[in-house]
Symmetry: C2
Subunit: 177 residues, 2 copies
Amino acid sequence: MKITVLRLGHRVSRDKRITTHCALVARAFGADDIILCGEEDPKVLESVEKVAENWGGKFKIRYEKNYRKPIKSFKGKKIHLTFYGLPLHQKVEEIRKDLKKSNLMIIIGAEKVPRDVYQAADYNISISNQPHSEVAALAITLHEIMEGKELKEEFQNKRFAKAKRKIIPCERGKKFA
Amino acid sequence: MKITVLRLGHRVSRDKRITTHCALVARAFGADDIILCGEEDPKVLESVEKVAENWGGKFKIRYEKNYRKPIKSFKGKKIHLTFYGLPLHQKVEEIRKDLKKSNLMIIIGAEKVPRDVYQAADYNISISNQPHSEVAALAITLHEIMEGKELKEEFQNKRFAKAKRKIIPCERGKKFA
């Protein structure tokens, strides 16, 4: 089934690079698309689309002004990442089972997440209860849901087939296909 | 043994938040300190020090103008994270063994990493060969080296003991100790 990431509360001046990193992590770690909410920011969309075009795969990015709409219309389980939530390892097995029968939405916030997001989520999940980064929280969550498969060459070759740019892993230096 | 993170090529105007996220990820996922290279940026140091003061533990951050100095003087194994490198899962066992007998330095770059870093590193390691984020690469690397222990409550309670602020994980909403 599909994994959608929902990025809340984007602010053009402050979050441009963090939101771009979130989108690239979503793509690289096995999500299918990302929806950006908050301030409209065509530059972030463009730069992520350019990566997707050059590096292969079918990853999609789009903007949605009101975060409530995609949450409400989403059919599947919703996981909100927050450092107030229950530890990922307590719930990850359950979430993996969910993914076998339904789509998943992973919701990541900016500074302040509205109360109704905690209520709308099927899971409020923490990736440690220490302050760090939504980029890291998203990466670890996808990595754990995917059981590390997303980092294997077989997965990447299949998912990002027919790419204009492709790297050959090597011990030192840089090597392109 | 200790884990040090080395962040290369910081640019004040562009990297302020990404570098802060790298430092907070280093702290939350089990590293002992981070060294920032590139442009001097007292604000990043201050904000990370403030988190460390409020949330407990002994994490340290410092600035070093020339990246060659800390690399050269470091005693232990050096792991450079780059999407050109060998997949983490091929080397992580070896790195875990290294950590039992020596310190580790994890080197993360900004846009362009100088050639001599590839040469100085004991390992050039990729966290997927797709473009994404140094924040995510650092988080996944530490998570894999620590085998997920860093997300367990026992680890966090011990490492971040006597904190001014502490969260009690809960299913919905926010709960402080």
